[in-house]
Structure formats: structure tokens, C-alpha cells
Symmetry: C2
Subunit: 680 residues, 2 copies
């Protein structure tokens, strides 16, 4: 008796013997190999393409004869003629195993393929979205067995795809009958199974094989901007990313001013809800248009946002979030209909998943950052800071994760800064000041040249230099400190004290002229004493929040700092540390996670297990409430100095020695000093 | 050691010993006695009122001392002062068992109280609605345990009401926080649990104890009329019943003309859907107004309707129901949001339950009739006929139930009749013709006198006699037959043949003058040969359907006939049998079930087990499709004669001997005969 043929699948290495004549797709299923199929083996979807290898493979102990797989059959030939199979590829559902063989499953044929994230960590997302396509053959109606079309669709899903039970939205009922008849009783259905306990739900139906794809929208709903990533639910590929300003800004720049608006104006919360929902709907339409995709193919959405935006998105008045005990209306994740969030432009049955909030001040955005950065897997004690109008701060490692938020205010985003502006072409984003000459050079967004390089003016263009953005002001303040133009208390020295004519009087205080185009009728861009104070308040709040978590953890140093947020990506670690925004660590231990909240949203969109994981993790995270913790105020005051009044910064000292200067000679400087003492 | 006190509950007879000091409510729960409570034993809802009995009860072997229960406490005294307790009543949650006692639980204190139906069968509905009220005490928010308000509501329901898990519509989230704070962390919630497998759902929340009640709407959506019953979900009481014409009539009188309208007019189905949904919404508002109830307190709806109305209600084009194989889009019951059916006037989170359809031609209305009449419990073989524009027919007993529908057309409702009109004041509803004098007397709706009684004209009023309604035309045709004015073939004799001057020429045929007010300028109401033909077609279809079920069952007689439908309630059994509408049975075996479809809807509204039962039963019912069954045509032709060409009617013969007459002498009569032959 000859043995059954041996099949070895790569890259999994799974192997086993199957009876001669077994289709490769069946062999894969039997051996637990991840091989995709939408059409269920009918030779039309081509998702099960494999690349057989022939020859001797000593690694696997297999010699594959040229006839190890059955010859091309009519189905493969037809598919190849119509759509073209790549050389060397076979359809797994058609090719049959006839002898020992090695079969490679290319990434695009894997259901749970890995999607590499654009991130420093290079972690991959395993594809396991909640919504999947299935081709079904549905029994024709029979007068003697008068089951409805929906019941026969359900029977087909049970028999052909092992989905034993489904629910169906009433709005889809109207589409069932025409689709089934048009497709000759063959149809593709989109089935949504958010988690193992939920009854799968029919989201959409198409006649025959649907080849138009299926998409999801990951939305990072921030106080200032709304960013969305249109993602292919099959490949995980981001088809388009787009952002708009949050139109709620007209009701208040920061979160607390929006809470106030809701408190002061009857119907104010509802007004803000309608405004932001409309904006998201518009963004969804725009991004689908940008990617050239029918918005009706967007069947899933994921939202991450801070608690106030979370409540306003859900239509809940955020008033309780404006005062202790900062009670959330709901803290758990939500799985609901996207139309209930006012999304009318996408598929009418699209689903929405909202990540859980961690606490009344630490929202689903922080949860998304956690999901992206996974501090619970860190061997080193890691501080993750998501810098925005509010800073979300996580501290932890494999043993424990703590979280808080801190009200930094919008200074880091260029607001409350005399020459501040949003990050846009013309904004100064980088600053260097020569410690000898005290002369600055700057770089602006949209231009790679420094201002002291030839051709800068031409490269910047007619708009010229227009202002300072968030990362620009951080660098400017840090450079002032490093150049000895500003002292530890944050006081800018006078021209006499510093020897620089760029230090000019500005009322009772001094300012530093960063860029002067007034001769050409352009702006004179200065860093004012007020700017310094605003940055000091913001960075003190950030540092104090981090210190509070460190206290709670019982440490006075961390091993690693991760800067998250779109803004975090642009902060220079060295300047951030000179400013004392973050605790002292070796500079190479400060990394940027990019838009971690957006990445977290995308992970939740593409992987159901990730949803379950973050739902579990947020319960385990230790919540620290900055607003009621007396030590927060202490830490805040001590952090006012640049870099810090008390904490040593030895790592920083090694890479950026800071001159010892003091400009407090009464007048404006004394005012600053008095203010600090009052706070203590 | 003395024994624990013995408690005997009546009417259940449940008994047992409980430790002295046990509250009566706890004792009831421990002994499995059905005693209601909304407030969970806080002495405020008074749902747990009991009537203790003192003295010697030999039947129970108990002697209850006057101090068998604890004395009134402050809570009871406060309740009595505020709302008044009936004499002899105690609050079960406050009164404690101190000695042996007999305690009566009055019907209004039982959760599963029986509601007597207004029906000949006197069957009761056991109260077990899907939505119930629960008073909860919710933990206040705690900054150190930042669970959302919803999560603390869920925890309260789990701890205080043993409801381990809930879901919550996003629209209710906005109401949670204000309600909890207004009620001082005490709130009443409405929880919807449609069946044991479903996760309970929060439908509504009120601060403190909600005493405004909770209501459901049972809707019988017919082709011609829409009837609704507003029902108290606590007591089962019908607070108001109301009906309106189905506004879809303007698209077609009967179902097939509406299907045609959908086929011929793009968007026609959607137009009919919008029309009927709007009408139901208007009806809901009107009925709530009539009962003086806030429409927002209507949290559940149940719909019964034929398959075409079912599809139009759901927004599904009924085109497939117009042709074989009559495929339903969905046949199973539906549990959905009422807003998805366009109900905007009631609670925004109200639920809708649509009964299952039996087959493509036998709808949820027939299922409701079955639920009401329960043919599966009948010891006698029972034929249930729901007469409307379409007749739904059920035949069965404990062994098996069969169902079909038959297209009777609207003749039974007075349409297609020369002097036909809807049942309204002035319509002839009863007819008697003297077999000797051949003179008629009639009774009209809105007047109890016969037309030959003194004062008839005054009693009818100035409107006079206006036409003939459905039951009137049935009686008229049957009386013509009994009086020998019409022969077995349905031919009206001439004046010469019958000797009655009321037989007049009407074109080529004869007509019988039933009422002549032409001298006073009123109408001359005649039964025409065309009317007879219309009734013959309708009754033949009905009888043929019944016979088909009897064939399938292998019988040629039934034991009992139940006439259902609003119209069924007004048909005289004797006349129906003379006409041969229904098979021959003893007259006392013909009963009316009233509006059985509406009753079935109300049962499904009030009892969850009934929903499960009908869902199971419809699968077991044997469906017979009249449209494709060749014998239907045979039966139809044979049933054209009055009462029948072939089947003997011995029971009828005993109570109503029919004269042997034949008027077919050529002319109009022959035309009728030819038409019948052509159909054969």
C-alpha cells in the first residue's frame, strides 16, 4: 500500500498527509493552514491562490515531482483567461494533491495576513476584521417549503460557511430578493461578527461574486482635528487618510470651554453633537471620493476620542465631565449602528465601534494609544505621552500600567502664543540659536532649507514666514535657554544682560526677535515673555502628570519615553527635555510613536481580538486623577523652572549643558518670580 | 424549640415555614409564590400588597393569631397616609411573618396575573410581557473607580434584580445622567427581554419611582382597515381600541391590485410603505390621546398582517408575492425597533414584534388567529375561517394543523355588490324573506327594529336605508334561496316563475327588490344577478379552500367551525351554511371567535411564551397552496351551486329545508350556466 501524499505548507511549516486527489484548499483546512476563500471553493474569487514548488527540499524532507498537483482544469483555465493568474500560481480549490509537494501560501492568500504598521515599533496587525465577505449558493424558493429568502440565505451560511445563526436589519430585507434573483441564486454577503458572543449580522448583499472590496473608517476625533483613515478590510491597506478641523472649535477652543458652552446654552450640547456628526459624515464622503471608493462599501467605523468628544459624539451632554467626580455616562466600549452617530453617507447598515474610556479624564483616545503602544508588553518602564490640547499620559511595563490626563492647554499647538499659528506652510517649525552670536536660524513648514542657507527666501515663496507652530515654539524656548538668553525661571534677558540686540523691550518685559521681515512689509516674529509663560504652564502640567504616575509607581525615573500624537512626531526630543516637558532619560530612549491614537483605531478596525484586549486592559489600568491629587499642584510648581527647579536632569546635562544665568533684577522679571512664589 | 411559623399563600396554596421576622415578600419568593414588586421591597411601589387572613382555617390546618404579622411600621403608615391602602391590606415587603398565617395574594399583586379575554372561549392570557419596570438604587460615581453611569446602572440591575447583562441604545445614554441625579441615585428603568436568549435592553429611565405605567400597541394591519389596541403592559387591560381605513386603498382595493401597483410603478412599493407607516403612526398618536396616555410610554408594538401588508410594512417590494412560488422575503418572526417601521410618535426606543408568516399566502394574521384559537389544542377537528378580502383557513386538532388562504375577493365586505357598502349606519345587515309571501324585512346597522316593526322609519332616521353590507348580502342571498326565489344554480326567478312582483327585470337577468324608497326619493335597493355571481365566486373560493384542507387531512367532514375576523362575528351561521360558505356541521358547532387576529396580536404583546409558541407552531403547520393545487379548481366549480352541487348538507337540511326550484329557461340564466361551464 502506498502512503498518502505529504503536503508541506509554507511559510507556516504545517504538514501532513492527505488522500490523493484532495484539493489544496481542503488540505489546507484539514491541516489548519490559513488559506483564504470568499467563494467557498467555486474557482471564482481567486482568494485561495497558492504557489506550489517542485523539486527536492531537504529542509522539509520532500521531493515534489512535476505532477505533484493535478493538471490545470477548465475552471483554472477560464479564470486565467478572464483575469490572469500570476505565473506559477494555482487556484487552491481546483488544484488537487496527487503526490508529495511543498505549497507556498502568499501573504495575499492568507485570511489572517499581517499588515505592517508604519511605526517605529514595526509591530504588525493581524487581519481579523469583524466584517467578512462570503459567496453563497442559496436554495430557490419552494412553494411546498415556504421558508423566506432570508431563511434560505441563513441556511446557506450555516451549511456553506458554518455560520449557524444570523440577524438582518430590516432595511436589508428589501435588497435580498432582487439580489438573489439577479445573481441566479448566488450572492455575496457581508457578515458582521464583532465578537464570539454576538449573533452575526447580515450587513450587505450583492448578486453573484462581489469584487468591489469592503472598507472601514478609523476615526481619530480630536478636540482640534478630526482625522480619518479609509482602510481596506481585506488587505488592511490604508486607501486614503484625511483630516479636517473640528468645527466645534467655534463653540470653544479647548474641551472645558465646550463643556462650559453646553452648560451655559440650552441645547448647546445637541448643537455641538450635530456639528461634529455632520463634519464626520462630510469627511467620510470626501475620503471615499479621494480613494475613488463607493461610500456604501464602508461598512465599519471605529472611533477614538477624549471623553468630552466621546460624549458629544454620542449625543450626551458632557456637563458631568466638567466637575468632580467626572462621571462618564458610559465607560465601556460601544458596538452600535453608525447611522445612530449620524453617519448617513456610508453604508446605511454600517457599524460603529467606540473604544472604551479609561476614566472621566482619560478617554478612548488614550485607550487607542495604549492599544497601539501596548505598554503592558514593555520590559522597560515606559512613559507614553500623547501631547495635544490635553495630554494623555501612560506609564507602565509588564507588571502594571497607570494612566492620567493633564490639562496642558493649547499652547503646544501654537495657540496662546503671540506669533503662534497652526502647523501650516510658512510656520516656523524648527529653531536654532547660536550660543556665541545669539543669532537664530529657523526652518519653516513647506521648505527644507534653514533661513541662513542660500535660496531660503525664494524657497519659502511669496507667503514668507508667517508665524510659529507648536514644535517651533518648543524649540525656540529651549534654544533661548541653551543660548543663555533666558534663565532657569523663564525670564528673557535684556539686550544689556545678554549682549544681543535681538532682545527687545516689550512693555515691562523682554522679547526675542526670531524673524524680522518688517523691512519688506512682512511680520516681525518675536518670542514674548507671555509665550514663555504659556509654554511653562503647559509643560509643567505635562511633567507634573508624568511625575504623579511615577510617584504612584514609586519611581523617580523611567527607562523610556514615547511621544505620541501627530504633534509628538514633530517634537525634537532634545528640545523637549531641555524644556523639562518629559523626565530625564537618555536621548536615544525618547522615540516618537507617530499618530498612535489613529493607529490604535486602525488596529481595532482590523482585529477583533484587539477590541477584546483593550476592553480588558482598560479595566486593569490604574487610573490617577490629576485634578484632585494634592501633589499634582506641588509637582506643577516645581516643574515651572526650565528644565526643573528640583529634579536633576543628568542625562540632559551630558548632551546639552545649560548656562547658569539669572536675569531677575526686579521689574518684569521680579513679577514672574513673585508669581511663582504665590503659586507655591 | 418552637417551630418556625407556617405561611399559607392563597390562591396558589403554596405553603412553608419561614423564620419569624421574614418579610412576606421574601417568604413569597422563597416559596415560589408569584408576588409582584417594582421597587424591590422599598415600600414605595405597593405592587406587593397582600391580604392576610386571621382565624382558624381547617382547610389549611392553620390558626392565625391577630398578631401573626408584625405591626404596621412607619413605611406602611407613610404609604397609607400618602396613597391609601385598602382595608385589610398590608405591604408584603414591610409586614413580617411572626406566627402561622394565611396570606391572600390579590390578582393585581401577581406578576403573572391572568387576563380574561373577551372571547367565547374564555381563555385567559397569562401576563408575561417582554418589558418590565424595575426600581434601582445606583451607586454614586467614584473618581477612584471611574465606571460610567451606565455600568453602575448595570451593576444595580445585576445585584438588585438578577439581570446580569444589559445593552443600551445610544439615544438613552443622554437621559441616564440627568435621571439618576434628579432621582437622587434612585431610578426606574424599563427593561426589555424579548426571550431568554436575548441580552436585556434598557428602553427607558425615569428619576425615582415611575408610576405612569407602561403600554403596548397590538396592531392588526389589514388590507382594508388598520386596528390597534392600546394595552397596559402591567395589567393587560385594553385602554383604548381604534381603527382607521388603510390609506393604501387608493393604490388598490385588494392585495393583488397593490402588488400590481408596485410592479407597474417604479417607487410604488416605497410609496405604499410610507403611506401605511404614516397611518400607523397617526393611529398610535390618536389612540394614546384617546386614552389620555403619553405616547412616549408606549414601548412595545406587535404587528399581525397578511404577507403583502407584512412586506409593505417592512419596506419590501411585494412583487414576489404576486406570482408563484410566492416567495416571502422573510418568513420568521421579527424583533426590531419600532422606529425602523417609521413609528416616530411613540417611545423612540420602542420595540416591534412581527408575528411569523405561515407561507407566501398565509400570513402573520393567520398565525395570530392560530395563536388566539390554538387549533392544536382542539379535541374536535376544527375549521377556522378568517373571512376578509382574503380568507385564511386553518384546519386541525391535537394531531395536526393545516393552513391555506383563498382569494375570496371583497364581495363579502360589500364591495362588487350593486347596492353594496361598508358596514356603517344605514346598511342592511340582516334580511328575512317570508317563504309564503316572498316579502322581505330587513334590519339596518344603528337600529334594532326590523323594517316591518312600527317606528322603523323614525328609528332609522333621515339618512334612511342606504345599502347592503357584507353580512346583509350573505343573508339576502341565503334567504332568496330559502324562499324559493333563487335556484340552486344561483339564478333569480322572474315574477312569473316566482309569483313575486319583487322579482323585476334587470337587463337580461332578474333582480329582487329588497327595499324601495324611490317613492320618497330614496334608493331602490336590489339584489342583482351580478351580486349573486360575486357572492358565489367568493363563497366558492372559501369553501374550496376548506375542502382542500379536508382532502389533505383525508376527511369529508369537520366537527366544528370557527368564524373569525370582525366580519365573521356578524355572519349568521345558518345563512352561511345555506350559502355553502362553510362545510355542513350542526349549527351549534359554528361559533364566532370575534377579532381573533387582534386577540392573537394582544397575546403576543402580553406573553413572551406565546411568541415562542407561535414561532414553533408555524413551522409545524402543514401549508397548502391553493393557487397551484389542481383540485382547488374542481372544488371551486362544485361549490358554485347553493349550497353545493355534490356535497350533501344533511345537518343543514334538518334545520333549513331548501325548496327544489330551477329557473334556467334560457336567456340570462343560461348565460350564468355557460360561464360556470367555461370555468370547469
Amino acid at each position: 500500500m502506498t502512503q498518502d501524499p505529504l503536503v508541506v505548507f509554507t511559510p507556516s511549516g504545517k504538514r501532513g498527509r492527505v488522500p490523493a486527489g484532495t484539493p489544496v484548499l481542503d488540505a489546507a483546512r484539514r491541516l489548519g493552514v490559513d488559506l483564504d476563500s470568499v467563494c467557498g471553493g467555486r474557482g471564482i474569487c481567486s482568494k485561495c491562490q497558492v504557489a506550489p514548488a517542485y523539486g527536492t527540499f531537504s529542509k522539509h524532507g520532500v521531493t515534489a515531482a512535476p505532477d505533484a498537483l493535478s493538471e490545470w482544469n477548465a475552471v483554472e483555465a477560464r479564470y486565467d483567461a478572464k483575469r490572469g493568474l500570476k505565473p506559477g500560481r494555482r487556484l487552491g480549490c481546483q488544484a488537487r494533491v496527487m503526490g508529495d509537494v511543498v505549497i507556498d501560501v502568499p501573504p495575499e492568500s492568507q485570511v489572517h495576513r499581517q499588515v505592517v504598521r508604519k511605526s517605529a515599533t514595526l509591530r504588525a496587525i493581524e487581519m481579523d476584521p469583524a466584517t467578512r465577505l462570503h459567496l453563497i449558493e442559496v436554495a430557490e424558493p419552494d412553494m411546498h417549503e415556504p421558508a423566506g429568502d432570508l431563511q434560505r440565505v441563513a441556511a446557506a451560511l450555516a451549511a456553506q460557511w458554518d455560520i449557524p445563526e444570523i440577524t438582518c436589519d430590516v432595511s436589508l430585507l428589501a435588497k435580498l430578493q432582487p439580489a438573489l434573483r439577479k445573481g441566479g441564486w448566488q450572492a455575496t454577503v457581508a457578515v458582521h461578527s464583532p465578537h464570539s458572543g454576538a449573533t452575526p449580522r447580515l450587513l450587505e448583499i450583492w448578486p453573484g461574486l462581489h469584487e468591489g472590496g469592503l472598507y472601514g473608517l478609523a476615526v481619530d476625533l480630536g478636540s482640534t482635528t478630526v482625522a480619518a483613515h479609509l482602510t481596506d478590510l481585506d488587505t488592511g491597506e490604508v486607501k486614503a487618510s484625511s483630516g479636517i478641523m473640528n468645527p466645534q472649535i467655534r463653540f470653544g477652543e479647548d474641551l472645558m470651554s465646550r463643556v462650559s458652552y453646553a452648560m451655559m446654552n440650552p441645547g448647546g450640547a445637541a448643537e455641538m453633537t450635530a456639528t461634529v456628526r455632520e463634519a464626520i459624515d462630510t469627511l467620510a464622503t470626501a475620503i471615499a471620493g479621494e480613494a475613488g471608493i463607493d461610500p456604501a462599501l464602508i461598512v465599519e467605523t471605529v472611533f477614538v476620542c477624549n471623553p468630552v468628544m466621546h460624549h458629544l459624539l454620542l449625543g450626551v451632554d458632557p456637563v458631568e465631565l466638567g466637575q468632580a467626580p467626572f462621571a462618564l455616562a458610559t465607560s465601556d466600549s460601544l458596538e452600535l449602528e453608525a447611522r445612530d452617530l449620524g453617519l448617513g453617507a456610508i453604508n446605511p447598515r454600517a457599524r460603529a465601534y467606540v473604544l472604551p474610556c479609561i476614566a472621566g479624564h482619560v478617554g478612548a483616545d488614550a485607550a487607542a494609544v495604549a492599544l497601539s503602544e501596548e505598554p503592558w508588553r514593555a520590559e522597560e518602564l515606559t512613559l507614553i505621552v500623547d501631547v495635544g490640547t490635553n495630554a494623555e499620559i501612560l506609564l507602565g511595563d509588564t507588571s502594571r500600567v497607570l494612566a492620567c490626563s493633564s490639562p496642558t492647554g493649547p499652547a503646544f499647538e501654537g495657540a496662546q502664543i503671540a506669533a503662534g499659528q497652526r502647523a501650516a506652510p510658512g510656520a516656523i517649525e524648527a529653531v536654532r540659536i547660536d550660543p556665541e552670536t545669539k543669532e537664530p536660524r529657523v526652518r519653516v513648514i513647506g521648505c527644507d532649507l534653514w533661513s541662513d542657507e542660500p535660496g531660503f527666501a525664494e524657497a519659502v515663496g511669496p507667503g514668507g514666514v508667517t508665524g510659529i507652530c507648536g514644535s517651533g515654539i518648543i524649540e525656540a524656548v529651549a534654544e533661548l535657554r541653551m543660548a543663555g538668553l533666558m534663565d532657569e525661571s523663564g525670564l528673557i534677558g535684556s539686550a544689556a544682560q545678554t549682549g544681543s540686540p535681538r532682545c527687545v523691550s516689550d512693555g515691562r518685559t523682554q522679547a526675542y526677535v526670531l524673524h524680522d521681515a518688517s523691512a519688506e512689509g512682512g511680520p516681525r516674529i518675536m518670542v514674548t515673555q507671555g509665550d514663555i509663560r504659556a509654554i511653562q504652564l503647559a509643560k509643567s502640567a505635562l511633567y507634573a502628570g508624568a511625575r504623579l504616575l511615577m510617584d504612584q509607581r514609586g519611581v523617580d525615573r523611567v527607562d523610556r519615553v514615547v511621544l505620541a500624537g501627530a504633534f509628538g512626531a514633530h517634537i525634537s526630543p532634545r528640545h523637549a527635555m531641555v524644556l523639562g516637558m518629559i523626565p530625564d532619560v537618555p536621548l536615544d530612549k525618547v522615540t516618537s510613536a507617530g499618530n498612535a491614537a489613529g493607529t490604535g483605531a486602525r488596529i481595532a478596525l482590523l482585529n477583533r481580538a484587539a477590541r477584546a484586549e483593550i476592553e480588558r486592559r482598560v479595566r486593569e489600568i490604574v487610573k490617577v486623577e490629576t485634578a484632585i491629587e494634592p501633589r499634582f499642584q506641588e509637582h506643577f510648581v516645581a516643574a515651572n523652572a526650565i528644565p526643573h527647579a528640583v529634579d536633576p536632569f543628568p542625562e540632559l546635562a551630558a548632551v546639552a549643558p545649560l548656562p547658569r544665568v539669572a536675569f531677575n533684577t526686579g521689574g518684569g522679571g521680579a513679577e514672574g518670580g513673585r508669581r511663582r512664589r504665590r503659586r507655591a
